[in-house]
Symmetry: C2
Subunit: 141 residues, 2 copies
DNA sequence: TCTATATTTAACCAATCGGTTACTTAACTA
DNA sequence: TAGTTAAGTAACCGATTGGTTAAATATAGA
């Protein structure tokens, strides 16, 4: 999709690549080392491709050391994805305690912002009032 | 892919779907409402497909209300992805001196095999010592 | 120079993705 | 009943993905 955040999420959407990141979280590793856990099921060119995906997503950087290509995890892209997730923290923390719904109803305020722009920030936790519901679903004509 | 976490990340790897989630963070919405910002560039069946991806990823749930299909954001999958990210917090907090660089690179807003191991946890922040490096990259034979 | 190791590139393939148009199904309303 | 609106399905398409094998490239070492 060409934007970096999309590339980052896409790169994370594969267990092999997540496992590679987990390995790299312990320190740099070259291609053969990264490939080792998968060598039984996957060829080296496939590993190379996964690494390219991770690199394009900004999740790793690569250098050269003799014939080796050490890979290093890159905090920035990780933080970029985490920052996006962070915007939704209010939502998943809200649903933690359904019992305290009334408290949120009190503190939540209506927001007029619309999600017209791509990748708009989430504005408020999802509070649905009866009126909103009817406004949305009622027959208008 | 088939595992839920992969599906979740894959679903997030599309700006249209992220915008839909942003809209849903403000409250339930039916299909036409969700489609509205995209109607100029996208057909309704395309919207339906995106919603199916989000649903399969566990990011939304859908109900029925007359001929409408209200969609609701689902905290669980969001939390699942955030929890995975959280494991790497130590890594991106470690190198937060380079934060500024990245924020300039990222455009504004956007602000196993199948892994033999089941998404192994990252173990330690990436600290690379000179000795480790030599052990890894030295010629062994 | 020759050989071994590390890694990438090229070419190919099947499956999935993101989109389309045309048609269908479901429910309300007159 | 007929008409309208909401949403989904079917069939298709080109691009991308994730994998393969075979061959090429880069470097070190004897």
């Amino acid at each position: 999709m060409s934007d970096l955040l999309s590339n980052t999420f896409a790169a994370l959407a594969d267990p092999t690549r997540r496992a590679m990141l987990a390995r790299l979280s312990q320190g740099e590793a070259n291609v053969t080392e990264l490939a080792q856990p998968f060598r039984q099921n996957m060829s080296l060119p496939a590993v190379t491709k996964h690494l390219k995906v991770l690199e394009k997503a900004g999740l790793i950087t690569r250098s050269r050391e003799a014939q080796y290509r050490p890979c290093k995890i890159n905090a920035d892209a990780l933080r970029g994805a985490a920052d996006w997730m962070e915007q939704y923290r209010a939502i998943w923390e809200e649903s933690f305690d359904r019992l305290g719904d009334y408290l949120k109803t009190v503190t939540a305020k209506e927001s007029a912002a619309k999600a017209n722009t791509v990748d708009a920030k989430p504005v408020q936790p999802a509070i649905t009032t009866k009126n909103e519901k009817e406004k949305r679903h009622g027959r208008q004509k």
